[in-house]
């Protein structure tokens, strides 16, 4: 049976006749009882359910690695920084960010 999606909508076997529908894969026929089936980023995924969040942390789906990762949840109050707008620099600035610890930059030839 052919499935269809429009702009990434969850695929279904019927369209509403408007433009923009494209073919989509059919969902897997079987999903293990301890797994969940989701449509995400234009593909069907069978994955573990999201783990329970604990205070100050949040589980996030890392799609590139196809795994749940636990991230620090923002608990810090908003910074209260007096900000002045419309300050125009009168001279050009050139900066070198040599000490910014970006790990393992990747260059592609």
């Amino acid at each position: 049976m052919q499935y269809w999606t429009k702009k990434g909508s969850i695929p279904s076997t019927e369209t509403d006749g408007t433009e923009g529908w494209q073919q989509a894969p059919a969902p897997p026929a079987e999903v293990p009882a301890d797994k969940e089936l989701v449509w995400l980023n234009w593909e069907w995924l069978i994955r573990d359910p999201k783990p329970q969040d604990r205070a100050g942390w949040q589980w996030n789906w890392q799609h590139e690695d196809k795994m749940w990762v636990e991230c620090v949840w923002q608990t810090k109050p908003l910074e209260e920084i007096p900000v002045t707008l419309a300050e125009i620099l009168t001279t050009g600035q050139t900066a070198r960010f040599e000490e910014i610890p970006v790990s393992n930059p990747v260059t592609i030839d």
């Binding site: 990434g8 909508s9 509403d16 990762v69 923002q74 900000v83 002045t84 125009i88 620099l89």
Partner: protein, 708 residues
Amino acid sequence: MPRGNGGIIGPANIPTTASAKGVWSLIEQMIAQRQGIWPLSGTDPFFYYTTLLLPGNGTNGAQNNTFLDGSANNFTITRNGNTTQGTFSPFSQTGWGNYFDGSGDYLTTPNVTALNLYNVTNTVECWVYPLSFSTAFQLYGTDFDGTYYTLFEILSTSGYPRYISRNGTQITGSSGVTLNQWNHVAFGRSGSTQSIWVNGIRVASGTITSEDGWGTAVISIGRFNAESRANGYLSNLRVVKGTDVYGISNTTITVPTAPLTAIANTSLLTCQSNRFIDNSSNNFTITRNGNTSVVAFSPFNPTENWSAAAIGGSGYFDGAGDYLVMATASAAINPSTSTTPFTIECWVYTTGTTSTTLYSALASENYGFVLGFGGALGAYDSNQTPWFGNFSGSWNGIRSTTSIPLMAWTHIACVFTGSTSYIYQNGVMTASGGPSTWAVTGSSKVRIGCRPDGPNPFTGYISNARVVIGSNLYPNGTTFTPPTAPLTAITNTSLLLNFTNAGIYDATAKNVLETVGDAKISTAQSKWGGSSISFDGTGDYLINASINSPLYQFNSGDFTVEMWIYPTTVSVVQYIIDFRDPASQTSAGIQWFLSSSAKCGIYVGTTAIIAASTTSITANTWTHVALVKNGTGSGNYKIYINGTADATTGTNTTALTQGFLSVGTSGNQRNTASTDKFNGYIQDLRVTTGYARYTTNFTAPTAAFPTL
């Protein structure tokens, strides 16, 4: 032949939801609207109090988690974390205001001659929506300079407007503004006479008999003598020096029905934009203090519906693992030579910083370009200063010293001309110089909302992110007007994210909702338009991130929450909507659920307001349900089911201070698969803040709610 109407102008007539022929005054229309007997097919006169409207119409299966590239490349975009998208946009059709939380929030402007109102004809006006009278609301004036001050304010307790000249006269209104509503307040002076109007009615007129100059302290909005004096919203604050705009002798004036403009002699015009800015020709600096925020909330109804093309949307990144990335690398997103000109730009609305490390809004994965924030020379800081650079063995770039204000939209454009690099913030050049070549080319992916290598995510909203390779879009080093409409795929556009692919969108353009589980648009059931929002009872719900939105902190004010529901089961507890803090079940937010016997229950925290409605909700049937809070008297909470007030009412005066939004789940059960989850369909979910739409029985809506 006489024409019927509401009765004030001529013979009485009765409108219906289908027709209101004749001539009607605004008061008649308002009364009819309150009674639910005014045609809904046109516009909603109270749309400006509407803070959420989910029509539920769209493509079957649509959610809010698929992001589209609007460039001709049509790159596939991969979502990580729970990045989501919605209609909150820099171009909101509903107008803008500023929110002051009553704790350290205020704005300041320089104390300059143009803003000095000593002994001169002038008009000061604004709209104010106070949330509390526990303190005064300072609208404009010079702060305490160690001796004296000048104030245009709303008094505490009474809410009366008052003008105080420096070391002299006090002129106070005989009546005041109303809490939890938009009020127009105007102060007019000609000669030594000062008049004050509230909502078009003159409430004071007196003679200034003593006045000792103007004062030397900074001009503040929302603060006096180091005290917070603002709790609520301000919109369209205008100072006109040299003109008595309304005529001080007039006992009534016509209240403007559209955003104010910079008429002749306007010295200051602020609290009306997507950012902190003075729209007068003076363009004075507006300094944000505390966590004063820009909100898409104003006293004016929009003149157009939300649309992707005209209003657009944004993506929300929660600062905890959210980012987007191109699925595959492409050479199209990096400059092809070291001198190829290019432009990267976006709008950002930062809601917080997770740490004192840098983060990025837009970056190529191989460090060909990075638009970052929070970095400083040699050390991180939290000043939210943008920088623009590349990495090829070492970092090269330019850095602005102008911070990005939190809780306001800022347009950022980074340009390489082929020999010089520029950063523009809101159209103003804030950094220029090297590097003179951009050495990193080749194929790469673009990441949105995090560093090029993944960590340190952005926190807040990003809108209209565009990469244009081969064109320098903005004039070298000079100012330009930031975009006033969503960006489009112009020539050389390599990547364009407009964030307008939300299936479940808010027609008020105030919210970005996350579709959790497979909450989605469904054509299986519909009240109008062929679809609705589907919840399967096993982990599906909608949330407004974890934002405690002031728009849903109803405080002591009236409000209306209504929707059409079609539950497919009514035998288990199901939450319809919950405004409590997900971390605190006892917090002061409204929760509304269906009991296991299909009764409506309304609680604040753990306090029952209406423990169970008399009427039950029927399964597999569309039912219009409305929760209305009206005033503070007995029975101030009512549930209307298909337009009829339920026999059980509630009485409560707790100030509602929680504005988290959970639809289809209780706040504290967001992370569970089944507990408290709604099972069925919802359509036309509408929240009206500050206004009780129904005070008597009414005819249930016979058409979809107007979207403007």
